[in-house]
Symmetry: C2
Subunit: 311 residues, 2 copies
Amino acid sequence: MAAPTTAPTTGSMQSDEDRYFSTNPPPKDLGQHMALVEAFIDKHAKANRRVVLVTSGGTTVPLEKQTVRFIDNFSAGTRGATSAEYFLDDKADYAVIFLHRQFSLQPYSRHYSHATHSFLDFLTEDDNGHGVRSRDEDAASMLSVWRRYRAAGDRLLALPFVTITDYLFELRAISRLMHRLGPNGLLSPKAPRSKSLVIDLDPVPKFLKSLVDNWSPESMMISFKLETDPDLLIGKAKGALERYQHHLVIGNILATRKQEVVFVTPRDVNWVRLSEADVASNVEIETLIVPQVISLHEEHIRTHKAREKTQ
Amino acid sequence: MAAPTTAPTTGSMQSDEDRYFSTNPPPKDLGQHMALVEAFIDKHAKANRRVVLVTSGGTTVPLEKQTVRFIDNFSAGTRGATSAEYFLDDKADYAVIFLHRQFSLQPYSRHYSHATHSFLDFLTEDDNGHGVRSRDEDAASMLSVWRRYRAAGDRLLALPFVTITDYLFELRAISRLMHRLGPNGLLSPKAPRSKSLVIDLDPVPKFLKSLVDNWSPESMMISFKLETDPDLLIGKAKGALERYQHHLVIGNILATRKQEVVFVTPRDVNWVRLSEADVASNVEIETLIVPQVISLHEEHIRTHKAREKTQ
């Protein structure tokens, strides 16, 4: 095992975390969820498959008595559901734990949900009147989505949460189970937002750093930084990288988040942009983000192995 | 026009309402939504079709700066989406304005969303590999849902909201437009819950009574009362009936809400229950609720017409 590269946890931070988890009730499905996660991780660990935890949908849900925050109504979970698909792609062949806000967008079905149209609009009565089929004009795209959904099969495990406390309990438990994946684990936890905070009676612990330190120290750790002011983005992303000791912060600007993002690592700042032609033909930016993340994850695994050899 | 049967609005209540709507920003889609509602109501008013406003999904959403309330994570919008279908049924032939929390369940597609399974699980590749079709075992039920969805056609107008302020602005504007339907209008607005309130900097006005008094005085007005304690239900339902001067309060107990509800009107208290056989075969309680509501709505229309004649 590699020596941890992060600073040791301070006593007071640890006790904040302990206090948070001991004074808040765990979600009622936690035990059942973790049994699923454990079996999922075991199976894919045996196949030497990489496993990514994708968190999706608004985490800034309010919580009775503890924290008063607001729904991020901007987040339907598009980025999470889209990224999950690209990780599940045959070429990438990751297994995906999709920890999502209840009722947020799901991989694959996202193409036909939360839209102006119901998925029923894409179907028509079949020719013998026994069932329904894809409309001719939608047949090819629905078949493609359906095939990719089926190909993902048991590489996708979707787990819902509602409150921020549910989320943190699930995140902690999943991260700890992912520990056994060593560097094959990839985490991209959402940080609860504090921007819309009005009153905060019992702050959420600074769990992101703790997560790196304690829960799954060999996994690669990514976070996203969403800003509205382009001038602040890089600085804030670098700040987050240092503060949380993550391996990668992906920064984006609200107005342009579907066209460009910036990869901020301890060594580099790299913009990833769709071409104008790609934007015009509705290429999703996740087609660029996920391969770059995978490439950095491969580097993370290599570095970890090299470090193990020298010890 | 019939004389209003409700007490006149007090000055202070009116000013609370005015203040609420003048100090909170309207939802950005309000103008566009109301253009749709106006055309929708006009069309169905010309056809002498009854129009029901069904509100669905959690209204207890938090709102920055104004009100701090909590997500009703219990509400996926099942009852609203289900009721809408029964109102849209050919026999009932209502037009439905479906004012729903963004991403909550929708009529018809609800049968395949928010479930453990994606709608993609009900489809398979078609025989010539050009598209997808319903799996044999799901063909009949999907075809039935699809046909009912298509039959509803332009009798369904779905409008999403996010925050409680969005909801109240939409509700006020729709109610006012429904005024022109006279007694053919049927409203079932959700009351924002105050149960989970932690801090309330700027209380939501007592809008439900105001709505009856001012916004759409000839419509029939229904509300739902959900309780956990059976001993309190009838008393609270009667209290709500009197306080808001609604025509009907439908009470239900959290634990049994899918099997029984109680209709509380100024004259009667009637329990509506599924038989054990119905429960066993998964009959939805809305199959009993909606026809009863429609029957009371017909009585409301008759009473209104009779009253008009005597004036």
